[in-house]
Amino acid sequence: MSAPSVAVEPREHYLNVDYGIRSWLLTTDHKRIGVLYMISITVMFFIGGVFATLIRLNLMTPAGDLVSADTYNKLFTMHGIVMVFFFLIPAVPAVIGNFVLPMMVGARDMAFPKINLLSWYLFVIGAGITLYSIVVGGVDTGWTFYTPFSTTYSNTYVFSTIVGILFSGFSSIFTGLNFIATIHKLRAPGLTWRRMQLFLWSNYATAVIMILGTPVVAIALILVAVERMWHIGIFNPALGGDPVLFQHLFWFYSHPAVYIMVLPAMGVISELVTTFSRKRIFGYEFVAAASIAIAVFGFLVWGHHMFVAGISIYSALLFSVMSYLVAIPSAVKVFNWTATLYKGAISYRTPMLYAFGFIGLFTIGGLTGLFLAALGVDIHVTDTYFVVAHFHYIMVGGTVMAYLGAIHYWWPKMFGRMYPEGWAKLSAGIIFIGFNVTFFPQFLLGYLGMPRRYHAYAPEFQVLNVMSTAGASILAAGYLLPLIYLIWSLRYGEIAPANPWGSTGLEWQTTSPPPTHNFEETPVVTEEAYAYDKHPEMEFVA
């Protein structure tokens, strides 16, 4: 493997090879597509964040009189739709995965570069249609679109929102397809499955979920749209339809979807923990196998969203025990990451801080999942703020932190610049604190009995709600800082060397930023991943 190169003056790389707008909008370079995705999902994240801010502001007072009930219902619906479909699902795979995955396998590009571009356009069109729906009046069904409310009773723009989501779903399917084909077929000579970096294993498992699950929610939503238009009765009890059937079809995807959101994040953590401990991962095979196990078991637990919805006691028992089983591989990963730190040479750079944050918060979030899997407890806490707290711990405390860690880690690779370390550490700290102040009180609110999706609430819940809103303002500040300093660093940041972290990862064995074709010569892989003991020459140079 090549030694890290020192920064040299103007040479051609993927960013400066052509500055024209057409070269960006018609690119098939996976790196440019990754950057395009990054811009798009950042926009969607902040739009979703605005909705969240309004929600939390409204919940400062029990009467909830900041916005009307209908507006509030639209706010939480659109916050959910934008964040789930247009931020969390694509964030790590479509931004980081697209950029880094071909380089990690030693390829010149994804298996299907044009489909990759198509994938981005589908995302943008979907986002556009959804934003249109929001602007012309919004949708108020909840991101879960339960029938018969969504099919018969809602008076909002359900149909167009569903179309927007369908586009994003197809975008997701094509991304997954590309990942699977690339990992199977485009690996460099010598890169066997067991030598692959764990980010690849995680994204592979994610891609399998994307291609198997997304089509089912597509059909579920198509049926809602058709029913809304033509009242065919498929979910309408008066005509023999069953509204609970929708829930089955919806959750069959939407539960695995949360693993789409968290598995790539876990892959990022594996990369960060190894690089910043200068160590092999503890239990490589177990972490890789755990990714696959999560993907498989994740398809078998959807009924745990429906324990009080009217499913039989026997199916409830089955879904409950499966939900416990799916927790085990996640626990194994947490233990393995922690064990990797043992006797490592640990650095406190910002990406590593985000990794620490992820491991801690994901542990809490995951353990609170056990409460929900427990049939006896779920009856009390389902549909309350306990669930809201649980999934925000995993999605925000987990996925968003991993995404930020990934952005900081691969920022030098993407743009040839270092981010300002002081500001980055400060932001990470603010985010960590803000996050916990926002969401921990919601566990307490949940057990006290505050239902979710309430624009107004019983007065005794106010103290905890005010605390949560205060935390949200801290969190918002924390998120704005990286937006500012990362953009600043594009122009004024320190020029990055090719491999500032001294990482053994294949993507670091080329320049930063890389040339369009990634590697001057196709790399040949001769050893397993994270072989830091074999490369004492690899050093931090940043």
């Binding site: 071909p102 390829a107 010149r108 590009d109 994804m110 298996a111 299907f112 570069p113 399917i173 397809l177 699977i180 084909a181 199977h184 077929k185 485009l186 291609i211 198997l212 699950g213 997304t214 089509p215 089912v216 597509a218 059909i219 579920a220 198509i222 049926l223 058709v226 238009m229 033509w230 009242h231 065919i232 009765g233 498929i234 008066a238 005509l239 023999g240 339809g241 069953d242 059937l245 089955h248 079809l249 069959f252 074709h517 010569e521 196709t522």
Partner: protein, 226 residues
């Protein structure tokens, strides 16, 4: 750089990021299989809904199924199977590098595909004429008293959605077959490179197989119960 036969290195059909035609072919075929898997899951959701409602409302479903046009359904099944035959022969011709034969076989496939869609259109029109289209003009009257109209409507809803989605896939398939017919006519395919023909063939066969499941579930369930 890569080591492969000279022909593959300079082959005009080789695209980035592949190092040789073999890798490109294998990857494209894998991609098509994965895509068909997603299609299977999509139709699977509909089959699941069908399964649930048929189990709950068998008598209404049987009664509704009697109103399917068995003749058109059977002819369409035969048409599709023949189109898969001509498609397979087209793939064979591509493997053997016989461009004229490819074009002929694919044109026959297109013909059969169009015949299917025309017959389907006739069938849909008939259903519309006798008020069997849910949401548009559904008014079911049957000689069997007291069959639940709502549940019969459910059958017809599933019928239209499932066969409609299938017909949409047929239409896309026709577009794909047309595309490779034109390419074959221009001599693009050879024994060394004919993967697009194979992959479109895979897609076509998949759409055919979906129909093979739709036909008995929608048209034949009442026949064995009389």
């Amino acid at each position: 750089m890569s080591h492969s036969t000279e022909a593959a290195v300079t082959h005009p059909a080789l695209q980035a990021p592949y190092r040789d035609l073999d890798q490109q072919r294998e990857t494209a075929t894998l991609g098509m299989f994965v895509f068909l898997l997603t299609e299977l899951m999509m139709f699977g959701g509909l089959f699941c809904a069908y399964l649930v409602y048929r189990t709950l409302y068998l008598p209404s479903f049987l009664e509704a199924s009697k109103h399917m046009d068995l003749t058109i359904g059977a002819v369409n099944t035969a048409v599709l199977i023949c189109s898969s035959l001509s498609m397979a022969l087209g793939v064979r011709a591509a493997q053997q590098g016989r461009s004229k034969a490819i074009v002929l076989c694919l044109l026959i496939t297109i013909l059969f595909g169009c015949a299917f869609l025309v017959l389907k259109g006739v069938e849909y029109h008939h259903h519309w004429a006798v008020h069997e289209v849910p949401g548009i003009n559904f008014a079911f009257s049957s000689s069997v008293p007291l069959v639940n109209v709502g549940k019969v409507q459910l059958f017809f809803s599933l019928y239209f959605i499932m066969t409609g989605l299938h017909a949409l896939h047929m239409l896309i398939g026709l577009g794909l077959v047309t595309w490779i017919t034109i390419a074959a006519h221009r001599g693009r395919y050879s024994p060394a490179y004919h993967n697009p023909v194979e992959n479109v063939g895979l897609y076509w066969h998949f759409v055919d197989i979906v129909w093979i499941y739709l036909f008995p579930l929608l048209y034949l369930i009442s026949r064995m119960h009389t």
